[in-house]
Structure formats: structure tokens, C-alpha cells
Symmetry: C2
Subunit: 324 residues, 2 copies
Amino acid sequence: MKLLIDTQGGDKAPIAMLNAVQMAKKENNSLDFVLFGDKKEIEEALGADAKNYEIIQTEDVITNEDEAALSIRKKDKASIVLASKYLVEHDDADAFISAGSTGALLAAAMLIVKRIDGFKRASIPTFLPGLKGPTLLLDSGANVDCEPEFIYEFAKLGSKYVEKLLGIQNPKVALVSNGAEAKKGNELTKKAHEILKNSELNFIGNIEANEILTTEADIIVQDGFVGNVILKELEGMSKVFVGNVKNFIMKDEKYFSSDEMKMSFMKDLMSLMGLTKYGGSPVLGVNKAIIKAHGNSDEKAFYLAIKNTVDFVNSGVIEYLKEN
Amino acid sequence: MKLLIDTQGGDKAPIAMLNAVQMAKKENNSLDFVLFGDKKEIEEALGADAKNYEIIQTEDVITNEDEAALSIRKKDKASIVLASKYLVEHDDADAFISAGSTGALLAAAMLIVKRIDGFKRASIPTFLPGLKGPTLLLDSGANVDCEPEFIYEFAKLGSKYVEKLLGIQNPKVALVSNGAEAKKGNELTKKAHEILKNSELNFIGNIEANEILTTEADIIVQDGFVGNVILKELEGMSKVFVGNVKNFIMKDEKYFSSDEMKMSFMKDLMSLMGLTKYGGSPVLGVNKAIIKAHGNSDEKAFYLAIKNTVDFVNSGVIEYLKEN
């Protein structure tokens, strides 16, 4: 399997990416990597190991400040652009992984790698740690202004993805709204409900946002603006909640006899809460595998993104989407 | 002060409302109550105390199933309708409190009590338990489809409310978006940002949803659909988190020596988390005080709603809104 790596995107680039690649290569030597970035810097960082990698020199970096679609055209030697072109031009290139700008990656996916026939939008899903198992949220923020049809597409992309990746047959789809009844929702949501209800998907209806972690649904859908709010609030609240518990315990003189006990308690509690980071999400709906790793990925997170990419490629979900 | 009470709306009506009214009256005999509901039922429940209250017979109940604006016209003897009319027709009637259908209450507020000149929409705010003090969220769900101007109005309503109720001068307003930069957001949010930036309000810019509980802002605004998602997710996640901690502790054999210790720990932890229920929110932007109590209010919650109503009336925020 041949994986293309953006060593320029992300807060901890390029070292975190290079360390992650070396870890993955050590574990599975059948993985071939093409590294996009500053050749000299990469060779220095990898030392003697550099000979085991194809390295492609890039000239520019697209940041979160750049206007995404425009930057794809103007900064045409940036890693995201060169790697996306490489992905299209080489049949043996299986996937591209980047911790860079989401907007730029999505623009490159749409404009260079291009949409699968029948889909109007590409979407980035995120797994939420639901109490009844993982729940896939789409759209995570790629599409902030949506037509009702796009929400149906997100549901379809998510259904196919979950089917192939987790082996769930006929996965359940729910729409996030401000009430369970079909008539509840803003204009967009009411129309999307109607389309989903009449679709071939296993649509179980609306859920309210208080059910996000407890729903039976395998997939929950909304536009990317609401999806982003859902994700970010989960992230922020988890931090506040854990912080509150930690403050309470650290000040405690009543229940715990030592700092070691306190630390141990917090560690046990955290592992139970499932507050683990997922290692990257695919851009669904385009012709080849593009994986977005979190912007602040460290080497462990980026290593996980590589592992998830291997699973994603092996699942054959892209071919499955093309057939359907 | 004369307060009108809907004894028909809410899951625990009428007993929770009647008990709450009696508690409030006992504490402050200068409060006069007008009770809207089934006269016979109310008199039986209150016994000899009934003579201390004005009771107005109602004939119909508006449920969450009814289409709100329509039900105001069709069920014109329902408590929400009769009380709203009473509020308009009696100068000495200070406020109306209901745990009934939010939609119907809002429709009655708009159609019967009517908007204050200069406001196109009424909005229900909710206080969130922010780490840096309470943060007022508008809109909580009353207006699911918004024009950019409505979001500015929510910010104005919230600013005046917080100024008068909490005595905060020049309160800080933030807009929830999917990025801190002005250019981030869906179409609605970008336009609302522009209006807020050029307004007389103390607009501090966009925040992302992970900052909702940690923001410096006194007021955060979005449309009612997103506002509802924010509120419901907070509610649902709190339950899941608390449930997780509880499960962990109840199963524990390592840290706690007895069930009493476990229960005591949970209680201390919960009180710290600020997961207390607020006792009702005003419908802001209409000519007289209308307070929405939570649909599942018990007597304590409804009693708190009465106390908050007294504070709301005394704050003079409605006159302040009319002047500005």
C-alpha cells in the first residue's frame, strides 16, 4: 500500500509526521510512503532511514488564514496540491494523509481528486463515543451552508462507510433537530427529514441534541455548521467536566488519603470516559482516499491516522460508493 | 405584585404549581396570585386557602402537539390565551408564568401581549453555568429560522436584560461560529457578525462551541435552532458524564470504603458542578412579563420560577427595553 504524507501541515509538522511514519513503517514494512515537504529538512530528520522513502519537494504552505479554494490555485506547489495531484496521477497511490488546513484539503479533494459521480458534496465524518457504540456524525464542518439534498448525501455517505468499515448492515440514520416530531426543525431540517423519510436509507427519525451520546443511531446528520457546534461543544464540555472533577479531587481532604490515590483515581476515571482521540477522518465522496488528521496531531495521533487510513483503504468503501 | 399562574401547563400540573404558589405566598404575602385553570380542581386542592386567590376558569388545554399560532386562535379559552389577555387588559397584572407549551406561550406573547416597538422577534434566553460566571444564551429555541437582524436583536435583548438583572455595565456579546475569524461561519452567521461589529453593543467577536462554558462573554447569540442544540447537548452530556462517574464509583472497590462514602462523594461532586436547574426564563421583547417555566417543573422549580419572576419585574427591564 502506498500512502502520501503531508509533512508540512499541522502544529507539530514535520517531526510528528516523520516519527509517525517511521513507527508505521517499522511495524509494517509493506507500507510505502511518499513524503511531501522540505526535502533537506526531511532528510536531516530521518538520517540514514531517508533512503527508504520517496520524498517530493514542496514550495509553499497553505495556512488556515488562506482562502481555501483560491489557495489551491495560487499556491500550486504546496504539499496539499502536489500530493492531491500525485494521488490522481498514480494508480498505485492509495491515500493521502494531512494534518493541514481542513478547508484547503477539502478544496483539493473537490477540485483535484474530484467528486464521485452522483454526489454533489464531499463530507468529513467524525466518530462520537456513544454509550451504545460509536456514532458517526456528518457533516463535521466541511459544508456550513447546505441544501436539504446534501444532508441526505451525508446520510448516504455515512451509511456506506459504516457498512464497510464496521460491518453494520442497514445502519440506522437519525437527523438532529429541536424535537422528535417530523414537523420540528428549521426549514432545512424539515425538508431534509422529508427526503430521508422517503429514501432507501434506514432513517429512524429526528433526535434532539441531548440524545447525541445515547442514541441508537449509527449515523447522525446535520449541516456542517451544526455538526461543528456539536463536536466542539462535546470537546469543550469534556474538558470543563474533567477539569471540574480534577479540581475537586485535588483539593479534597476527605475521600483520598494521598496524591497517588488521587492521580490513580483520575486516570481510572478518564480511561472509562472514552475520551480518546480518534486518529483522522476521511473526506468521503471523492474518488480516492484523503484523510484529515487533527491539526494538533502529535506522533501518536498521526500514527493512529496512518493505521486508520490502512483500514479505510482495505475496507473498499470508495469502490462501494462508486458502485452505488 | 400581581402574578398570573397557568395551573394547566406542565407535566406536574396543577399540583406542583399550586404548592409552589402557596410556598411563595406564605413567604411573601404581598404577592397576589391569579390562578388560571379548573376552578373546582383548584379549590379542592387548596381547601380553605382557596379564598386567598383569584381563580379564573379555563376550558381548554394547548398541548405540544398543537400548532402553536393556530391553537391560540382556536383554543381561545385555554389558560395561556386567557392569562395573556388578562395581562394586557389589567394594568396591575405584572407577569404571567407558565410551564406549558413553549410555542403556544411564544405565540400568545407575540399575538396577544405584542412586541415592543423596534423589535421584530421575541426571544427566550437561558443562563448557562459558565466557569467565569453565568452566560446568557439567546435564542434558546424560539426562533429556528432567523434573519441576521434577528441575531442582533437577541444580542440587544440579552444585553439590556443582563445590564438590568445582574447590573453588568456594557456586557460582552459573542457570536457562536465555527471559527474565531470574522470570515468564518455560514451565511447567516457571517452577516450577523457584520451587523454586530457595527452596532452599539459590546461585541467581542466569534467564539467556537468549545468555549461556551469558558468564554468571557456575558451573552452568546445564535439562531434558535443552534441555540437549542447547544442547550440540549449540554443537558444530555451532563447526564452522560455524571452517569459515567456514578457508574464508575458505584462499582469501585479500590477507592471508597463504603456506600455512604460513595454517595457523599457524588453529592459533593454534583453540588460543585453547578448542575442546578434554573427556574424559568422570560420571553424577552414583548410588552409585559411572561415567564416560561420548564415543562417538567416540580413545585421547587416552579417556586424558583416565581422568585425569578419577582426579580424580573423588579429589575424594570421591560421599561428599559421600551425606552431603548
